[in-house]
């Protein structure tokens, strides 16, 4: 009886919070027929916004992987002064409102900002341009990967790497043959979270981008613009695109997990990740 009640509660909750809104997006998106839907998706503005979103997500993920791997390596395998401070600092982006982050970067890189004059002389545009969007997105998303990796690598210690070293492996061989396979699942999970957040970020991006149509509009900004202009069908159509992106990410991750679950060592890695 208790079990039934709990399951029912979970199902009702998920239906109200997840299923209905998602269905609502799709219903609204196709509200004026498939022709209109297709027209909106293939419009120049939507294409530009999609390209920008994917570009920003791609750069963000690459940089976050590099920061995440080297940061997690440093924190988990070495002792140094200020390590606890650094570990706390990593959590910071989670506790700062993205809007504040946006303003922060304008304050730094805007025309009247700290580096504004110097950047202008060098003819580098950061605020109100793509580099600014990339920067704030990295700021907002960089904890995801490193936070997955640090506990995993701390738990595994240095033994495997030292064993590889004692067997004659060089640095890159140790990394690709021993370290990376050990943290594979944590890394993939972190990338998934990072991708979801990078494509969905709104607050920080809306401030730093300046909302220049067709140039600094990411998908989320594009949706907001359409909605504000009372083009709600169009807004929902583009929303469905973001939804699709999220679903593809999820499916890819599940496929990867499923395809390697047959091997016992991956089950182990999965368990290690989840604990």
């Amino acid at each position: 009886m208790g079990r039934f009640f709990l399951i029912a509660l979970a199902v009702i909750f998920l239906t109200i919070l997840l299923v209905i809104p998602i269905l609502f997006i799709l219903v609204e998106a196709f509200g004026e027929g498939f022709g209109v839907y297709w027209q909106i998706l293939t419009s120049q503005e939507t294409l530009n916004a999609t390209k920008l979103t994917l570009l920003v997500a791609f750069i963000t993920i690459i940089i976050n992987i590099i920061i995440g791997l080297s940061g997690a390596w440093a924190i988990s395998k070495f002792h140094f002064r200020g390590k606890t401070f650094l570990t706390t600092l990593i959590e910071l982006p989670f506790s700062i409102s993205p809007v504040v982050v946006g303003f922060l970067f304008i304050l730094l890189f805007g025309r009247n900002g700290w580096f504004g004059r110097w950047l202008e002389q060098m003819d580098i545009q950061i605020a109100f341009a793509v580099p600014g969007i990339v920067l704030v997105t990295i700021f907002v998303t960089f904890p995801f990967i490193i936070r997955e990796l640090v506990p995993l690598m701390q738990e595994q210690g240095k033994d495997d790497e030292e064993a590889a070293l004692s067997l004659g492996a060089k640095g890159w061989q140790i990394f690709f043959r021993v370290t990376l396979p050990n943290i594979k699942w944590g890394l993939i999970y972190g990338i998934t979270l990072c991708l979801a957040r990078a494509t969905g970020e709104f607050g920080a991006v809306t401030i730093i981008s300046g909302n220049i149509r067709g140039q600094t509009d990411t998908l989320t900004l594009h949706i907001k613009n359409l909605y504000d202009g009372y083009y709600s069908t169009q807004a929902f159509a583009v929303s469905s695109l973001l939804l699709l992106l999220a679903l593809v990410t999820l499916v890819l991750k599940s496929l990867l997990e499923w395809s390697s679950r047959a091997k016992p060592e991956n089950n182990l890695a999965l368990k290690a990740k989840k604990s």
Binding site: R177, P181, K263, P264, N266
Partner: protein
């Protein structure tokens, strides 16, 4: 030959000294134990020899060549880690093949050679049937064998083992000890292993290096280290002992009215603490209690496998509690019963004039009638 010369090491920028000028030589074909309590620096020393850690001072010579300039992968040293450190995402076969596959292009053997070599090693370790398993599917003893096979794949001349039996059950441990000793001999290796278990060190090693607080206490053959401890620490660490108060003057020692003598004079000390091993106490049959030097009441008889422990409450010694160790057959042969009085002799007493010096040994002597 491994020449370890004045190795010093400290952690935390010199605040925590780990090793203080430790030096000794390991000859070709020797199996040497690094023995000491936890925190004695034995593992750090092993890691320095392996090149996993660098020394602050001193140097290590392999066959007369300095090792410091060589990186670990050039040292040709096999290392077996305490918790084996097997690669969990690789099968047993791939674990063992790892050292061969990461060799530089010019030195890397072909696929067939690697397979043959790995299979040969697995056979030698008697784990051929496990080659497709993953480490998580193996028992402790099996993991140990895989770790050994992996270390031996790169054909090292020197094998270093960190607490090789620490994580194993008692019976597996015993079996692996014998097996490892045979392996060492048949492969012509020079090996150093770390252990905190004195029995293990005595059982396996050609020579034992005794470390305490980063200082080399004694290096000797097992029988010597036991019979001729270099100092108080060596004596204490290598077995249980009883402590008694005695009066010492010159070559004579008096305890409960009985005299012991040594061939070496000791400074006057009265009272002084002397020590005796439990197996140096010899109970006498109940019938000859009159001839006994000392008497006491048997508090407890503890049956513990190959030896029996007697707890004796003596009548005129200080402190009055003694622990004796006797073969199991003695209990019935001598008619020892809990609660009864028994007579006993003491074969040897050990006295330390200072903790750093070798002891002076006293034996029972009969004054001329």
């Amino acid at each position: 030959m491994i020449d370890i010369q004045d190795i010093s090491k400290s952690f935390d920028h010199g605040r925590v000294p780990i090793l203080k000028k430790v030096g000794f030589t390991v000859h070709d074909g020797e199996l040497v134990a690094l023995l000491g309590p936890s925190g004695s620096g034995k593992t750090t020393l092993l890691r320095i020899i392996a090149g996993l850690e660098s020394a602050d001072g001193g140097q290590i010579l392999f066959d007369g060549h300095t090792a410091q300039t060589k990186r670990m992968r050039e040292r040709q040293v096999g290392f077996v880690f305490q918790h084996y450190a097997l690669f969990r995402h690789m099968t047993v076969f791939n674990n063992v093949a790892f050292g061969l596959r990461v060799k530089p292009w010019s030195l890397r053997p072909g696929r067939k050679t690697i397979r043959a070599k790995v299979n040969e090693l697995l056979e030698l370790m008697q784990i051929s049937e496990l080659s497709k398993r993953y480490p998580s599917q193996l028992s402790g003893g099996q993991r140990q064998r895989v770790a050994l096979a992996r270390a031996l794949a790169i054909e090292p001349k020197i094998l270093l083992l960190d607490e090789p039996f620490g994580a194993l059950d008692a019976n597996v441990r015993q079996e692996l000890r014998v097996w490892l000793r045979q392996l060492h001999d048949s492969m012509g290796l020079t090996s150093i292993f770390v252990t905190h278990d004195q029995e293990e060190a005595m059982d396996m090693a050609d020579r034992v290096v005794l470390l305490e607080k980063g200082i080399l206490q004694q290096i000797d053959r097992p029988e010597n280290i036991y019979e001729k401890p270099a100092n108080f620490f060596a004596y204490q660490f290598l077995g249980q002992s009883n402590q008694l108060l005695a009066e010492i003057s010159g070559q004579q020692l008096k305890i409960a009215g009985k005299f012991f003598s040594s061939n070496q004079p000791a400074p006057l000390a009265s009272p002084a603490f002397v020590y005796l091993r439990p197996y140096h106490i010899r109970p006498l049959p109940a019938s000859s209690i009159g001839q006994a030097d000392f008497t006491g009441r048997i508090d407890k008889i503890l049956f513990g496998g190959s030896t029996i422990k007697l707890h004796i409450k003596t009548e005129n010694m200080q402190p009055s509690f003694l622990e004796a160790e006797i073969p199991p057959s003695d209990v019935s042969d001598l008619g020892l019963v809990t609660g009864k009085t028994c007579g006993f002799m003491i074969r040897q007493l050990t006295y330390f004039t200072s903790p750093q010096e070798p002891p002076i040994l006293f034996h029972r002597y009969q004054p001329a009638p």
